[in-house]
Symmetry: C2
Subunit: 318 residues, 2 copies
């Protein structure tokens, strides 16, 4: 188990083949389907576009029974989708949850899971979010799927594909804490209750206010760090048709994190984005300039005179 | 395993307790959340409302590996939500699918599952439906969650709660075939390829055209028969605050089905609805008048001079 989406290539291939089955249909009010953090839906004849995203939390894949606090999983189930909305610069509006609930999870565990999800909707950035439906079914393993619908002014969604040579590359917050926290949670010893890395893993905050501020700048491209900086930077580079050059010495490291760990730690829910050189980054967020955009492709690590390609760092056990 | 939603009471209780956690939020553009087939979302400043629904197909709960053809499960995964859209009189527009895919299901099984889902989107009633996103993850058991967004003219959604004393009660199609087909599928012997009951179970058609026609009449209340006529009639009666009186001799039985079986067979995806006495039912559908609405509560079976309450007929193994 890692905290990045293991087996990403196999899953991206599957998603591509599913999309191919539906390719003739992708024309009815869909500004953008697949390939970005959310679908953008724009034929409402309105001043606003809708954002649509769905994610799941799966037993033995995203968590281990008895190791992860259920409230943290409930929070994660919602934050995964909220972070997708943040990466597009939107405001979350409605959510649906669909739960497959095995016998072992019924009662207190599931109550705490639900309370954790509800708590993830506290705070001014999420105050408009309403739960509007869903489904509960029995089953052998716990799976919770959350779909979130967001909205923003028509045509203003931040996309992955707009980075231009000459832009600067930024990331919010710090990196690596989520993976350190996960490893402590999964270890033999029960971690200290106040362990900051465990808190970082269990209580992520989607960067909704930052996403909306970046939409106003506007940023040229953005993505959330859900599968690790290395993987998500590769996606942004690929969607934009550019090379990203990262200075490892500039990376904002969580206390105790190595550069290598910061590059592969997923579930950080920070935003990775590019700004034109003349753009001013939003002032009220912790942001670090970690590199720049060049012509070319892929993601590169630049240290003094030396430049090397950033390989795939996530584990891949699909 | 049954083809109705087993353990309905336990699940409805869970859904109610989840909704209570979010009760303070149900005010932002939500005309109706929970309790009906879809949520109705109406603050788009537009001429149309959105319908939102989500359902899941769970291994060892809704199907048994090796018994159900994967294409039939793919069809079911989409039809469950399409039928909710039909019951509200809407037109399906966008869908998201989220799949938890164990190793055993990868390859041909999953390909056929996806093809079945895509085939459920064929036909003029579903031709506008686009797949706009989703997620694939590994896991121990197969779970597919499909969310569908539909639309209709503002304020015209068919609801469960509008039946009035004096209305007539109708159902479309015939009842009982889906449960007969399921029992043959799960039996020791492999059923004949052309078995009509198996085809009825594996290839349901959501009544989208009928739902839209009923919205124009308009019907006073409607629900789809997903968990069995007895259960779904109870829901309609409860939402409307009325008693439903059903004449068992009037029920349209699938060949070979008993009355008792027709009352508890789920996954029929027919529409159960009420019309004011002066309303004319749509002409281009197979419809049967099976009873009427009275003051009171609950669902009653009326044979000649005798009237008895219809108990819970679905199995409840949650």
């Amino acid at each position: 188990m890692t905290n990045c989406e293991a087996g990403i290539d196999a899953e991206e291939h599957l998603i591509t083949s599913i999309e191919a089955l539906w390719a003739d249909r992708e024309n009815s009010g869909v500004a953008l389907a697949g390939g970005d953090d959310c679908a953008v839906l724009s034929s409402l004849g309105d001043r606003e576009d809708l954002l649509l995203t769905s994610d799941q939390v799966v037993e033995n894949r995203h968590f281990v029974r008895g190791k992860h606090p259920p409230a943290a999983l409930g929070r994660k189930a919602l934050v995964r989708s909220l972070s997708d909305i943040a990466a597009m610069g939107g405001r979350p509006w409605w959510c649906l949850q669909t739960v497959c609930l095995p016998a072992w999870a019924r009662g207190r565990w599931h109550d705490e899971f639900q309370q954790g999800m509800r708590q993830a909707a506290e705070g001014p950035e999420v105050s408009g979010l309403a739960l509007v439906g869903g489904d509960v079914s029995g089953g052998d393993r716990f799976v919770a799927t959350v779909a979130v619908i967001g909205r923003l002014a028509t045509g203003t969604a931040l996309l992955r594909g707009g980075a231009k040579p000459g832009d600067f590359l930024y990331v919010s917050g710090s990196l690596g804490g989520s993976l350190i926290g996960l490893e402590r949670l999964l270890g033999e010893r029960r971690p200290d209750p106040g362990d900051p890395a465990v808190a970082r893993h269990c209580e992520p905050s989607p960067r909704l206010a930052l996403g909306r501020a970046l939409r106003r700048v506007p940023a040229t491209a953005a993505i959330d760090v859900s599968d690790g900086l290395a993987t998500d930077a590769r996606r942004l580079a690929s969607a934009s048709g550019v090379a990203l050059v990262i200075e490892p010495s500039a990376l904002p490291l969580f206390p105790g994190a190595s550069t290598e760990l910061a590059l592969r730690s997923g579930e950080e829910y920070e935003l990775l984005f590019t700004l034109a050189p003349e753009s001013v980054p939003p002032a009220d967020a912790v942001l670090t300039r970690i590199g720049h955009v060049e012509r070319g492709s892929g993601v590169w690590l630049q240290s003094d005179e030396r430049r090397e390609p950033l390989g795939a760092l996530g584990d891949a056990h699909f």
